[in-house]
C-alpha cells in the first residue's frame, strides 16, 4: 500500500501563447480528502488536471505527490488514475485488452481476474471482449473508470465525472468516489456541484486569472 499520500500544488501557473490561463494556484490535499476544481469554460480546469497527472508541464510553481511510506514510487504514472472526456481508449482493442495495455505501459503486471472484477463492477463484463469502438459513449465512459482504477491508484482524478452516464452509471461513479475517499485522494474538476457529495478543498480558477 502507499500509506498516507499528500498532493501539494504551490504557485502553479500556465500560459499558452503568452495568454495566462491561471496563476497562483495553491492546494494541499491528503488521503481521505477531496479536491474540487471549478471554473467557467476556458478557465483551465482541464489544463490543471493535466498538470496534476504529469502530462503537462506548469509554466511555474511546483507540484508534489508524497507519502509517509519509504518505498513510495516516484513515477506518477503508477500513482494517478484519470477519467476525462478527452482521454481516449485504444478503440481497436477490447476493454480487457485496454486494461492489459494500460498495466503493461505503466510497467505493472496484469491480473486478468482483477480486470474481470473491475469490468463487472462498471457493468461492462458481458461485452468485455468486444472492441471498444463498438461501445456506446456511456459504455466508453465506464471503461475509462476501469482504465483509471485497474492499478488502484492513490490519486484518482475525474474531469467531468458524470458525462455520458445514465442513472446506473452515475450510481457506480458515486460508489467509486466514496471508495477512493476511503483510501486515497479524489480530485474532481466540474462545474456541476451535484456531481460531488462533499469536498474538503476547493480551487476556483475564476479567481486565478
Amino acid at each position: 500500500m502507499n500509506g498516507r499520500v499528500r498532493l501539494v500544488g504551490e504557485g502553479l501557473r500556465k500560459e499558452y501563447d503568452r495568454r495566462t490561463v491561471f496563476r497562483g494556484v495553491e492546494f494541499s490535499v491528503s488521503s481521505g480528502e477531496t479536491l474540487l476544481i471549478t471554473g467557467r469554460n476556458g478557465s483551465g480546469k482541464s489544463t490543471l488536471v493535466k498538470i496534476i497527472c504529469g502530462v503537462l508541464t506548469p509554466g511555474g510553481g511546483t507540484l508534489s505527490l508524497t507519502s509517509d511510506q519509504d518505498d513510495f514510487p516516484r513515477d506518477e504514472r503508477g500513482l494517478i488514475g484519470l477519467v476525462s472526456p478527452y482521454l481516449q481508449m485504444f478503440e481497436e482493442f477490447s476493454a480487457v485488452e485496454n486494461l492489459s495495455i494500460a498495466m503493461g505501459m505503466r510497467g505493472l503486471r496484469f491480473d486478468p481476474r482483477a480486470a474481470d472484477a473491475l469490468l463487472e463492477r462498471v457493468a461492462i463484463f458481458p461485452r468485455r471482449h468486444d472492441p471498444v469502438r463498438t461501445y456506446s459513449s456511456g459504455m466508453k465512459q465506464r471503461v475509462k473508470y476501469a482504465f483509471a482504477l485497474i492499478h488502484t491508484p492513490p490519486v484518482l482524478v475525474l474531469d467531468e465525472p458524470m458525462s455520458n452516464l445514465d442513472g446506473e452509471g452515475v450510481a457506480i461513479v458515486r460508489t467509486v468516489m466514496a471508495e477512493q475517499r476511503g483510501h486515497g485522494i479524489l480530485v474532481v474538476a466540474t462545474n456541476d456541484l451535484s456531481d460531488i457529495d462533499a469536498h474538503e478543498r476547493r480551487v476556483d480558477l475564476n479567481e486565478r486569472r
Binding site: G54, T57, G104
Partner: protein, 231 residues
C-alpha cells in the same frame, strides 16, 4: 500497488507493451503495411515501365532502389505517431508510459516494419528490374540491415515531431530529407559496391558511417524525445 518493481524491468515491460500495442493494432488494421506495400508496388511498376527494355547503369539502379525505400518508408513510418494524434490517444500514451518507453517501443515497431518493407522491396526490385545484379551479397545484406536501422531511427523521431503539425503529410519527407541524406548517400554507395563485386572490406567506410549515424540519431533522439513528446 501491484507488487515491487525494479525500474529497469518496469521500463522494459513498458517498452514491450508499447511495441505489442502497435504490433497488434497493425495486424488488425493493416494500416501502415497496406500503405507501404502499395507504394512499393506502384513505384517499382513506374520504374519498370519507364525503363522498358532498356537497361540502366548499376549506379542508377542502386540509387533508384533507395529512392523507392526512402519514399515508401516516409509514407508509412510516420503512422506510428500520426495515428495516435488522429485517434486522440497521444494523451493516453503520455499518461501511461514514460517518454523513453514510448520512443523505444515505437522505434522497435518501426524497425520491424522497415526491415520487412526493405526485404519485400529488395525481392521485388531484384525480380523485376533488369540489370540489377548483386555480386557481393554480404555487403548488400549488411547494407540493408544497417540502412533499415538508420531509417527506423530517423523516421521515429521525425514522426514524433511532425505528428503535432497541421501539415503532417507534406512536412514529413521535407523534414526527413536533410536528416537522412548522409544515410541515403552511404547506402547508395555501399549498394553500388555490392553490385560491382567489391570485397567486403571495401565497404567498411560506409558501414562505419551507417553505424555511427544510427547510434547518434538514437542517442540524440532518446535525449530530446521527452521535450518533443510532453508539451
Amino acid at each position: 500497488m501491484n507488487g515491487a518493481r525494479t525500474p529497469l524491468r518496469s521500463f522494459l515491460r513498458s517498452v514491450g507493451s508499447v511495441f505489442f500495442k502497435d504490433w497488434r493494432s497493425e495486424l488488425r488494421t493493416r494500416y501502415a503495411v497496406s500503405a507501404l506495400l502499395m507504394f512499393v508496388v506502384t513505384t517499382i511498376s513506374i520504374i519498370l515501365f519507364s525503363l522498358g527494355s532498356e537497361g540502366a547503369s548499376p549506379d542508377a539502379l542502386s540509387g533508384m532502389l533507395w529512392v523507392v525505400v526512402f519514399f515508401a518508408a516516409m509514407s508509412g513510418l510516420s503512422r506510428t505517431f500520426v495515428m495516435e494524434e488522429e485517434r486522440g490517444t497521444t494523451l493516453t500514451l503520455q499518461l501511461l508510459a514514460p517518454p523513453g518507453a514510448v520512443f523505444f517501443g515505437k522505434l522497435l515497431f518501426n524497425l520491424v516494419l522497415v526491415t520487412g518493407l526493405n526485404a519485400v522491396t529488395v525481392l521485388l526490385y531484384a525480380a523485376f528490374i533488369n540489370g540489377f545484379v548483386i555480386r557481393t551479397m554480404s555487403i548488400f545484406v549488411v547494407t540493408v540491415i544497417l540502412g533499415s536501422m538508420g531509417f527506423a531511427a530517423a523516421a521515429t523521431v521525425i514522426a514524433a515531431i511532425i505528428a503535432r503539425a497541421n501539415t503532417k503529410g507534406t512536412l514529413y519527407p521535407v523534414l526527413s530529407f536533410p536528416i537522412v541524406l548522409p544515410l541515403l548517400l552511404s547506402v547508395i554507395e555501399a549498394t553500388r559496391k555490392a553490385s560491382e563485386g567489391a570485397f567486403f572490406g571495401e565497404a567498411a567506410g560506409e558501414f562505419q558511417l551507417l553505424i555511427s549515424y544510427t547510434v547518434v540519431v538514437v542517442v540524440a533522439s532518446s535525449m530530446l524525445f521527452e521535450y518533443i513528446w510532453k508539451d
